[in-house]
């Protein structure tokens, strides 16, 4: 079976989209970057996040639509990203893949 391969950062961004699209802020560049920074304690640049989002969009894992503009954005609209069915599928597969590994470990070295 051909699998869509994701890089580690791509996977994190995809997860962030899945998480944030449920919330009121929605999943867009800044919210994703904030979420990632908060959870991973590493600096994430919005520019970099955008590149990953476009790439995910080209792979068909996320969809997007233009949202509202605010004054803080200089009157510019934001692009809100949502997980597509394929995206959900890929995330699920990822999880299963990792779980499979954990379960295969005879003695988990931390509990």
């Amino acid at each position: 079976m051909s699998r869509t391969y994701l890089g580690e950062f791509e996977e994190l961004v995809l997860l962030a989209v899945a998480l944030l699209e449920q919330q009121s802020t929605g999943a867009y560049g800044v919210s994703i970057a904030d979420e990632l920074k908060q959870r991973t304690q590493r600096t994430t640049s919005v520019t970099g996040v955008h590149v990953v989002l476009y790439r995910l969009e080209e792979k068909g894992l996320v969809g997007s639509a233009l949202g509202g503009a605010t004054l803080a954005r200089g009157g510019r609209r934001k692009r809100l990203f949502t997980l597509t069915a394929t995206g959900q599928q890929v995330l699920r597969e990822m999880r299963q893949l990792r779980m499979g590994f954990w379960e295969a470990l005879p003695t988990p070295f931390f509990a």
């Binding site: 867009y28 970057a33 640049s45 590149v51 080209e58 605010t70 200089g74 510019r76 934001k78």
Partner: protein
């Protein structure tokens, strides 16, 4: 939020500009919005400074391949959906919103070149003709341009070049004519520095003199000069040993070149060593300078201080005594025009007698190319040849380009189908133009590479011919840029017509079955243009051929012109060392020797008299008369030795002791003086009074470019050049006697001599070179033009195979078919002759006017050139025609 301002967010403007510039348009809004939102957040958390800093940093991160690639794709109008599926439009690839790829993009260029290469390989004979023509054209123009470049850089290496000036004297001769000479009095240089604040330094020097330099028994005749101390401070002739400021100050100093140092001492650190100069005085080497570069017009191997020389040579220094070159280094920002006005009466102020002599300065860098003067204004010189050859180079390239255009348009019928199919499939006109230009450019690049190799092989020969030391400047980026540009321009020039023509074809017409009628219709335009180009090509070739003919006729005329002097069987030898003191016994001994007819001497080469003066007077001379007299001091038997006709009076003779102050003049002098019977008339030269004892028939004192001027010949006090006439056919024996006697009388000096003929040839060096070069390049031009003709004939014959077959079947003779095929071309050549003749007449007439004595243009020159071209063209075309005519019609008609 802050209060409203033009940029309420106060993000760094440069970062916004960068974003706008680098971010793909369709992504800009969301990305910049996100960044500004983040900026607003950070503004609250960390303050303005750091927020701005972060913003800038983020903006910089747009410089990453992902955005750049997309941005580039936008710039080149690549379909966006090539990258981003979001905007994909499924129905059409190219829409107004998503235009087609442009002409210049890497993939298409690769494609153009690939197709070009395939076409090149498929049509080998056409490619060969094209490439050969282009190689010849590019190689010869490259050689010419190297020469031109070399000529243009002569004397341009001096660090002070921009304010280094040479002084010229304008002498008003008869009427208001000005005679401009670079010879100036030696008094001028020191006076300039003393009296003009604009002049920083000034130097005078003599033209080259040959002197013997000896260290022990190691002796060589070398070319050197006398110069004032600032020579090495004005010119950039770097000294490797010694102090350039003081080297020429002492009376017994001597500065030599590295080459001379090596010759004499075997090494170059020779300051303080002693050298015997002219076999009489010992000089201390005070400096060694780097050998003068090839691109210098001033050439010398050693320099002696001028001051002792001036003291020894003449009594009272006078402003009327010329013979020195003067150079001045002006202070930066000097207004030269104003200075020249100030200089007008400079000499007159010092010597009230010299009313008609003015001084003027010209920038030294320009004097090499602009050394001809008319009425005191620079008027050509070598620059004319430089321009001429630049034009020739362009001509050659043009002829080669035209070949390419012609062959490409001729073959257009064949490629028309290809064009039609491409267009139907969806190729746009720009693609086709790109493709055809690509082909041309590929071809010119290939040709340039081959041409470069050819030039590399030919350059030693070319150097020999032009007496230069040129090399392909591989290390110079400008050369490569130039070559690349040349190839590109040639390619574009050669490819542009076929490109536009072929791409304009309409697919429907071209692809219609049995399309010959349609093809014929669009072909008439092409045929007309092709014919025009052939005419143009042959017009250029004809111009070059007629030029060659006229130039070589003129050179022949100069060589054989009766100069009034018989230079055949005449040998010159420098008189120096012991010979100066014992000249008379030496002369007597020579006269006794076998094979020698007559011996005399003169101050310089009588065919190249340089000294002139206005310091002459005679009884009836008017106050306003300022006739310039050339002066040639000669010794006994001069008229006899040079075979000059004596019109009246006699030669100098030992029987008349008074001859030391007597004069011989030429016919022209007598005419200008207005004296019918000059013999016995009083005459004085530089205040030395005497009488005229002889009048000789006019002979050329100088290049035949200038008219014969008045000449006065005093009796020489010293003998500088031995002139010896040998008996006809006895040259070998005479030379042997001369050598033996020279060795005997003057053992310290090496024996050297020149034939008057050789010395004469040197006078016309540049003309001879131009003659040779035009001959070669005319040949190349005609070869290139004929190559094109050959290709066209080949194509025509191929195209008309069927017609020829039918004609033969109907009973046409081979002769009539050859005539049919050649006739078309001959008409074109005929038109070219009609066009070229008046043009060539005008050009050559203008050139010949630069000679005071020249051949007349004759109709046969044009007829000969025309005949030559017709003959060659006929030969070229008939080869193909005959081939086509001989083909068995069964073969040519069977195909299909």
């Amino acid at each position: 939020m802050d209060k409203p301002s033009p940029n309420p967010l106060r993000t760094p403007p440069w970062a916004d500009r960068l974003l706008g510039w680098l971010t793909p348009a369709e992504l800009l809004e969301e990305l910049q919005g996100d960044l500004q939102e983040q900026f607003a957040q950070r503004l609250d958390q960390v303050g303005l400074r750091r927020a701005r800093w972060w913003y800038g940093l983020e903006a910089l991160k747009v410089i990453r391949p992902y955005y750049l690639r997309r941005r580039l794709a936008r710039l080149t109008h690549w379909p966006r959906d090539f990258f981003l599926k979001r905007h994909a439009t499924p129905h059409s690839f190219f829409t107004p919103e998503h235009p087609s790829p442009p002409l210049i993009n890497p993939d298409m260029i690769r494609n153009y070149l690939k197709i070009a290469w395939r076409n090149l390989i498929r049509h080998k004979s056409f490619s060969a003709i094209n490439i050969l023509g282009l190689v010849l054209g590019i190689a010869s123009s490259l050689l010419i341009l190297l020469w031109v470049q070399d000529e243009r850089t002569i004397d341009h290496f001096h660090a002070n070049g921009s304010h280094l000036y040479q002084l010229y004297e304008n002498q008003q001769t008869t009427g208001n004519d000005l005679n401009t000479t670079p010879t100036t009095p030696h008094l001028l240089a020191p006076a300039l520095v003393a009296e003009l604040p604009e002049v920083e330094r000034s130097v005078h020097m003599t033209p080259g003199t040959m002197l013997l330099l000896a260290v022990g028994t190691n002796s060589y005749r070398q070319r050197g000069c006398y110069a004032s101390p600032d020579l090495f401070r004005i010119f950039s002739f770097p000294m490797v040993q010694g102090n350039p400021q003081t080297a020429l100050v002492g009376p017994s100093s001597l500065v030599i070149s590295e080459a001379v140092a090596r010759k004499l001492f075997g090494r170059t650190d020779v300051v303080g060593r002693s050298v015997r100069v002219g076999n009489q005085d010992d000089r201390q080497v005070t400096g060694v300078f780097q050998d003068i570069p090839a691109n210098s017009s001033l050439k010398f191997d050693f320099v002696l201080p001028s001051e002792p020389y001036i003291k020894q040579k003449s009594g009272t220094p006078r402003w009327s005594m010329n013979g020195w070159r003067t150079f001045a280094l002006l202070r930066p920002n000097t207004d030269v025009a104003a200075l020249n006005v100030k200089m007008l009466d400079f000499i007159h102020r010092h010597d009230a007698d010299l009313t008609k002599v003015t001084t003027v300065m010209f920038r030294f860098e320009d004097t090499y190319l602009h050394s001809k003067f008319t009425n005191g204004q620079p008027d050509g010189g070598r620059i004319e040849y430089v321009r001429l050859f630049t034009i020739v180079a362009v001509f050659l390239l043009l002829i080669a380009c035209i070949n390419f255009m012609n062959l490409a348009t001729a073959r257009s019928a064949k490629r028309a189908k290809e064009v039609g199919i491409r267009k139907v499939i969806g190729a746009e006109r720009t693609y086709l133009i790109g493709q055809f230009t690509g082909e041309a450019v590929l071809l010119t690049f290939l040709s340039s590479l081959i041409a470069l190799t050819l030039v590399q092989c030919l350059i030693p020969l070319f150097n020999q011919l032009t007496e230069k030391q040129m090399a392909i400047p591989y290390a110079n980026p400008f050369f490569w840029a130039g070559l690349l540009g040349l190839a590109l321009i040639t390619g574009l020039l050669a490819g542009i017509y076929p490109a536009f023509f072929l791409s304009s074809l309409q697919p429907v017409k071209v692809l219609k079955a049995n399309s010959s009628t349609a093809l014929l219709r669009f072909k008439t335009g092409a045929v007309l243009l092709r014919q025009g180009l052939v005419v143009f090509q042959f017009t250029l070739s004809l111009l070059l051929i007629i030029g060659t003919l006229v130039i070589s006729r003129q050179m022949h005329f100069i060589r054989t012109k009766n100069l009034g002097i018989d230079r055949g069987n005449v040998i010159y030898m420098r008189v120096d060392g012991e010979l100066t003191k014992h000249f008379e016994p030496f002369r007597q001994a020579l006269l006794q020797a076998s094979g020698i007819q007559s011996v005399s001497s003169a101050a310089e080469d009588p065919l190249y008299t340089g000294n002139s003066t206005t310091g002459v007077s005679w009884r009836t001379k008017l106050q306003t008369d300022n006739t310039l007299f050339f002066v040639l001091p000669v010794s006994y038997d001069f008229v006899k030795t040079m075979n000059i006709r004596l019109l009246a009076g006699r030669e100098f003779s030992k029987a008349f002791p008074a001859d030391s102050t007597n004069y011989i003049i030429n016919e022209e002098a007598a005419r200008r003086m207005g004296i019918k019977h000059p013999i016995g008339q009083e005459f004085s030269l530089e205040d030395v009074h005497g009488t005229i004892v002889g009048v000789v028939k006019n002979f050329h004192l100088n290049s035949v470019r200038v008219a014969i001027e008045p000449l006065v010949m005093p009796l020489a006090t010293t003998n500088t050049m031995l002139i010896m006439r040998t008996q006809a056919g006895q040259t070998e024996r005479a030379l042997a006697s001369l050598e033996q006697l020279t060795k005997q009388f003057n053992p310290a000096y090496p024996f050297t001599y020149t034939f008057a003929d050789e010395s004469f040839e040197r006078l016309y060096k540049s003309e001879t070179l131009v003659g040779k070069l035009t001959r070669y390049f005319a040949l190349i031009a005609i070869v290139i033009a004929c190559l094109g003709l050959f290709g066209l004939a080949m194509f025509m014959a191929e195209q008309r195979t069927k017609e020829i077959g039918v004609r033969k079947v109907m009973g046409a003779s081979i002769g009539s078919i050859v005539a049919l095929l050649s006739g078309d071309f001959m008409k074109l050549v005929g038109v070219a002759i009609v066009l070229a003749s008046p043009l060539a007449w005008w050009a050559m007439h203008t050139w010949l006017q630069t000679f005071a004595y020249h051949v007349e243009l004759a109709w046969w020159m044009f007829a000969l050139a025309g005949g030559l071209v017709v003959g060659i063209a006929l030969l070229t075309v008939s080869f193909q025609s005959i081939k086509a005519a001989l083909v068995n019609p069964v073969k040519s008609l069977r195909s299909e």
